[in-house]
C-alpha cells in the first residue's frame, strides 16, 4: 500500500508545483538521476525484497547505464531458477522470474525453458482475466527472447479474448465480472496484444488491429492536462484499495501504446503534441524519491525515447539567471528525453515579455546560433539592449529536414522564466534637514556611496529630514526595485523603518518629525540612518549606513506609550522569567492556646452547676421502669441518644454529611422505635397511677 500512497502524495505534490510555477524549466534525464538511482535501488547481499523490485532495479540500471550487476546476478539467479522449476508457480511468478532473467541472463537449461513455455501456453488457453493473459503472454515473449521457440497457435483467439474485455471509451476491464473499466488496464491490455502479435505464427487480422488503433485514439481523448501543458492519464473511478497514481497509470499506457505501435504496420493517429505533453509530465517530476515511481518514470521515458509515433524534443535552459555585468549568453539545449542529440534544427526566440519596465523594447524573432561542439544554441544578450528584470521567453523549434516532422515532436511554443541581473547605480543622492517652511536646500548634502563618509545631521522636532536619489539600470533607465527602505535606529536599540516613495524619476522621503513624534516615542538622541535597497535583478543590493542624526524632541506627555523593551540577547527570551510574587491574605490572629483551653473549662462549669442543681432538687431515678422489657427499651433509648451525640462528634471530627445522614437515618429509626416503646410505657403507667 505504501507505494500507492506515495504515488498519490507525489501526484499531489506535482499538482501543487504546477500551480506555483507555470513556466518552470524542464531538464532531460541527467546524471542527477543516475546517482539517485544508485541510492534508491540498493540490494541487500545482492538480493532485493521481491523479484518485481529486482526487475525494477535492473531495468532502471540498464536504461541509465549505471550499476554493478554481478553480485545481483550471483544472488538472484538461484531464486529465478527455483521459481521457474517450481510446479506450482502462478502466471505472475513465471512473469517476474522470466523478465528478471531477460536482463540478468542466468544459465537456465533449455528444457526448463521449454517446460515453462508449454505451461504458459496451457495457462493462456485457460485464462479468463486480463492479468492472467498479460503475465502469460509477456512471459512467453521473454522465453522467445531467450532463444527458445515459443509460438502461440491460436493467436487470433487470444487476441479476440483480450479485445473482448475492452470498453467503448478506449479503456479496458480487468475481467468479465468486473464492470468498471480502468485506464491502467488499457495499458496492460495493449502490451499484451502487442505480445500476441509478436508471438503469432501467422498474420493477425488487420481489421482487428485497426479497431485497436481506433481504441487507442479514443483512449488518448481521455487524457488530462495541467495548466502548464503537461498531459497525463488518470483513472476515472478511483477505488481506494487499488489506487494507482497518475504516474503509474500514465507509465502503463505509454508502455502499452509504444509496444503496440512497435509491432503493427502503419502509423497510429496520435498527434505528436500529446506525446510531447506526456514526456513533459514525466520530466517535470524531477527525481522521484520512491523506487517504484522512479522505475515508472525511467521505464516510460525509455519507451518514449524510441517510440514509432513521435519522439519529443526537449528544450531546456541550463541557467535561468543571466548577468549583464559578465555579459552572459542565453544558452539553450535541445535534446531527447534522455539527453541524446537531436536532429538538425534551429531555435527561435519568438518573444520576450516582462510585466515590469515598460519602456524597454521587447525582442522578437531572434534566431539562436548553434555551437556544434557543445551541442548548444546560444544568443548574445548585450547587443539586444534588454534591461535588467524578470522575463518570460518564448521559444520555437524548427526542424531542418521536413521528413523529421513525422518522427519528432517539437512541442510548439514553449515559455520559460529568466532573470536578467545587472549593476544598479545610485545617482545624485542627497540628504539634508529642512525647516518647516520647506526649503533650505543649502543644507542638503550630496552623498557619495563609494567613499564611506558618514553624514552628521542635527534636527529638532519642528524640522524635516529629506533623502532623495535616482536608481539607474545599466542601460540608463529608471529602476524600481522591490525593497527601498530607510531605517532609523535610536542608540542601537529602538528601530523604525520607513518606505521611500517613488515618483517618475526618483526616490525620495521626507520625515516630518512633528508628525512622527508619537511613533518614535519622543526619544531624543542620536539616530543612526541606514538605507536598504534590494531586488532580485540587482547584483549590488545593499544596506548602507549613511550617517547619523541628532534629534532634539520635547518631553513626552503623560499618556505616551513606552517603546517596546528591546532584548539585549536574542535568546534572552528563552531564559528564566521574573519571579511572580503572589500576595496572600494575611491569616487572622488567633488567641493563645492557653486562653482557649481556659475558656473551654469555663464552658464546662455550667454543666457541673446543672448537675449539682439537679442533686439539690432531689432528682431520682425512681421512675425508671423495673420490669425487663420496658427497662431494656429505656436503656436502648438512652443508648441511642448517646450514640447520636457521639455520631455528631464524629461528624465534626471526620465524617462528611452523607455518611452522617446515612447513619443518622439508621439511628433515627432505632430511636423512634425504642422511644415510642419507652414513652408509651411511661404514659400508660402514669395514667394508671392517675386513675388509681
Amino acid at each position: 500500500m505504501a507505494p500507492d500512497h506515495g504515488s498519490f502524495g507525489l501526484g499531489a505534490l506535482i499538482c501543487a508545483l504546477m500551480l506555483i510555477c507555470p513556466a518552470a524549466s524542464i531538464r532531460p534525464i541527467s546524471d542527477a538521476h543516475r546517482s539517485a538511482a544508485l541510492e534508491l535501488f540498493v540490494p541487500v547481499d545482492g538480493l532485493f525484497p521481491s523479484l518485481e523490485e529486482t526487475y525494477h532495479a535492473l531495468r532502471t540500471f540498464l536504461i541509465l547505464g549505471v550499476g554493478e550487476t554481478s553480485e545481483i546476478n550471483r544472488a538472484t539467479c538461484p531464486v529465478v531458477l527455483e521459481k521457474l522449476k517450481s510446479p506450482s508457480s502462478s502466471p505472475k511468478g513465471f512473469y517476474d522470474a522470466l523478465r528478471v532473467n531477460s536482463i540478468l541472463g542466468c544459465q537456465i537449461g533449455s528444457e526448463t525453458l521449454e517446460d515453462v513455455a508449454s505451461q504458459l501456453r496451457d495457462l493462456i488457453k485457460g485464462a479468463d482475466s486480463l492479468m492472467d493473459f498479460y503475465y502469460s503472454v509477456i512471459g512467453l515473449l521473454h522465453v522467445k527472447g531467450q532463444g527458445v521457440s515459443a509460438v502461440l497457435s491460436d493467436a487470433q483467439g487470444v487476441f479476440h479474448s483480450i479485445k473482448a474485455l475492452s470498453q467503448s471509451d478506449g479503456r479496458w476491464r480487468f475481467d468479465s465480472n468486473n464492470a468498471e473499466s480502468s485506464t491502467h488496464a488499457a495499458g496492460i491490455a495493449l502490451e499484451a496484444l502487442a505480445g500476441v502479435v509478436s508471438l503469432a505464427d501467422g498474420e493477425v487480422d488487420q481489421s482487428k488491429i485497426g479497431i485497436v488503433k481506433h481504441d487507442i485514439v479514443k483512449l488518448f481523448d481521455s487524457i488530462k492536462s495541467y495548466d502548464d501543458g503537461t498531459l497525463y492519464f488518470h483513472e476515472k473511478h478511483i477505488d481506494g484499495s487499488e489506487y494507482e497514481g497518475p504516474l503509474a497509470t500514465t507509465a502503463s499506457v505509454v508502455r502499452g501504446v509504444a509496444s503496440f505501435a512497435a509491432v503493427v504496420s502503419g502509423k497510429l493517429n496520435i498527434p505528436g503534441d500529446k506525446i510531447f505533453g506526456i514526456a513533459k509530465f514525466l520530466l517535470t517530476i524531477g527525481v522521484p524519491g520512491i523506487s517504484k515511481d522512479f522505475f515508472n518514470q525511467i521505464d516510460s521515458l525509455s519507451y518514449i525515447e524510441n517510440n514509432r509515433i513521435s519522439i519529443p524534443l526537449i528544450l531546456s535552459l541550463p541557467s535561468t539567471v543571466l548577468s549583464l555585468t559578465t555579459k552572459d549568453q542565453l544558452k539553450v539545449e535541445v535534446t531527447t528525453v534522455f539527453g541524446s542529440a537531436a536532429p538538425p534544427l534551429t531555435v527561435n526566440l519568438v518573444q520576450t515579455s516582462t510585466s515590469e519596465v515598460k519602456n524597454t523594447p521587447t525582442v522578437e524573432n531572434q534566431e539562436l546560433q548553434f555551437d556544434q561542439e557543445n551541442n548548444i544554441h546560444y544568443l548574445d544578450i548585450v547587443p539586444l539592449k534588454i534591461d535588467i528584470g524578470k522575463y518570460t521567453l518564448k521559444f520555437e523549434i524548427s526542424l531542418h529536414d521536413p521528413e523529421n516532422l513525422n518522427i519528432y515532436a517539437t512541442g510548439g511554443r514553449m515559455q520559460y522564466l529568466v532573470f536578467l541581473t545587472g549593476y544598479v547605480k545610485v545617482d545624485n543622492p542627497q540628504i539634508g534637514v529642512l525647516d518647516t517652511d520647506g526649503e533650505s536646500s543649502a543644507s542638503l548634502v550630496k552623498l557619495d556611496f563609494s567613499k564611506l563618509d558618514k553624514v552628521s545631521l542635527v534636527a529638532n522636532h519642528l524640522q524635516k529630514m529629506r533623502l532623495s536619489f535616482q536608481l539607474v539600470t545599466p542601460l540608463g533607465h529608471t529602476f524600481k526595485p522591490h525593497q527601498v527602505y530607510i531605517k532609523l535606529r535610536h542608540e542601537g536599540r529602538v528601530e523604525h523603518i520607513f518606505q521611500l516613495e517613488s515618483s517618475a524619476r526618483q526616490y525620495k522621503i521626507q520625515l516630518d518629525f512633528l508628525a512622527l513624534l508619537e511613533q518614535i516615542y519622543y526619544l531624543s538622541g542620536r539616530y543612526e540612518i541606514e538605507l536598504a535597497i534590494g531586488d532580485a535583478a540587482m547584483e549590488n543590493s545593499f544596506l548602507h549606513i549613511l550617517g547619523h542624526i541628532d534629534l532634539t524632541l520635547p518631553d513626552p506627555p503623560e499618556k505616551v506609550s513606552r517603546p517596546p523593551p528591546q532584548s539585549v540577547d536574542r535568546y534572552s527570551r528563552f531564559g528564566p522569567k521574573q519571579e511572580i510574587l503572589h500576595i496572600f491574605r494575611t491569616p487572622e490572629k488567633r488567641p493563645p492556646k492557653e486562653l482557649s483551653f481556659t475558656f473551654l473549662g469555663f464552658t464546662l462549669l455550667p454543666l457541673g452547676g446543672f448537675l449539682i442543681g439537679l442533686l439539690t432538687l432531689g432528682v431520682n431515678l425512681k421512675g425508671f421502669p423495673s420490669s425487663s422489657l420496658p427497662a431494656l427499651s429505656s436503656i436502648l433509648f438512652h443508648a441511642g441518644i448517646a450514640a447520636t451525640l457521639l455520631l455528631y462528634g464524629l461528624f465534626w471530627l471526620k465524617f462528611d454529611l452523607f455518611t452522617t445522614l446515612k447513619l443518622l437515618g439508621l439511628l433515627g429509626v432505632f430511636l423512634v422505635f425504642t422511644g415510642h416503646r419507652t414513652l408509651s410505657y411511661l404514659a400508660s403507667t402514669s395514667t394508671k397511677t392517675k386513675t388509681n
Binding site: 475558656f599 469555663f602 454543666l607 442543681g613 439537679l614 432528682v619 465534626w652 433515627g668 422511644g675 414513652l679
Partner: protein
C-alpha cells in the same frame, strides 16, 4: 420612701421564692436546664469579646446551640405544665419526644455549621 421600696423589693422576692418552691420538680429541672444553657451562651460571648469573632461561623454555631436548646426547653416547659389549659390533651411524654427530636435536628445543623 427608699426604705419602703427596698422592703417592698425584699417582700416581692420572698413571695416569688415561696411561689417558686411550689412549682413541681420536673418544671424546676427544666428551668435549671434553661439557666445552664444561657450561662454557657454568656461565657461564649465573653470569650468572643476577648479574642474576637474570627471563625464567626463557629461563634454563631455555639451561641445558637445554647439559645436553641434553651428555647426548646421553654417550649417543653409550656407543654408539660399542667396549669396550661391549651395543652391539656398533649401528654408530657409526647412533648418530651418532640423535645428530643428537635434537639437532635438542631444539633445536627449546629455540628454542620461548626466547621
Amino acid at each position: 420612701m427608699a426604705k419602703s421600696s427596698s422592703s417592698d423589693a425584699q417582700a416581692l422576692i420572698r413571695s416569688l421564692r415561696s411561689a417558686y418552691a411550689a412549682t413541681p420538680t420536673n418544671l424546676k429541672i427544666i428551668d435549671l436546664y434553661v439557666v445552664y444553657a444561657i450561662t454557657t451562651a454568656v461565657i461564649q460571648i465573653v470569650y468572643m469579646g476577648i479574642v474576637g469573632s474570627f471563625p464567626f461561623n463557629s461563634f454563631l454555631s455555639g451561641i445558637l446551640s445554647c439559645v436553641g436548646t434553651a428555647v426548646l426547653a421553654v417550649c417543653l416547659r409550656i407543654q408539660v405544665n399542667k396549669e396550661n389549659k391549651e395543652f391539656k390533651d398533649l401528654s408530657p411524654e409526647r412533648a418530651f419526644a418532640d423535645f428530643v427530636l428537635c434537639n437532635l435536628v438542631l444539633h445536627l445543623v449546629i455540628m454542620n455549621f461548626l466547621g
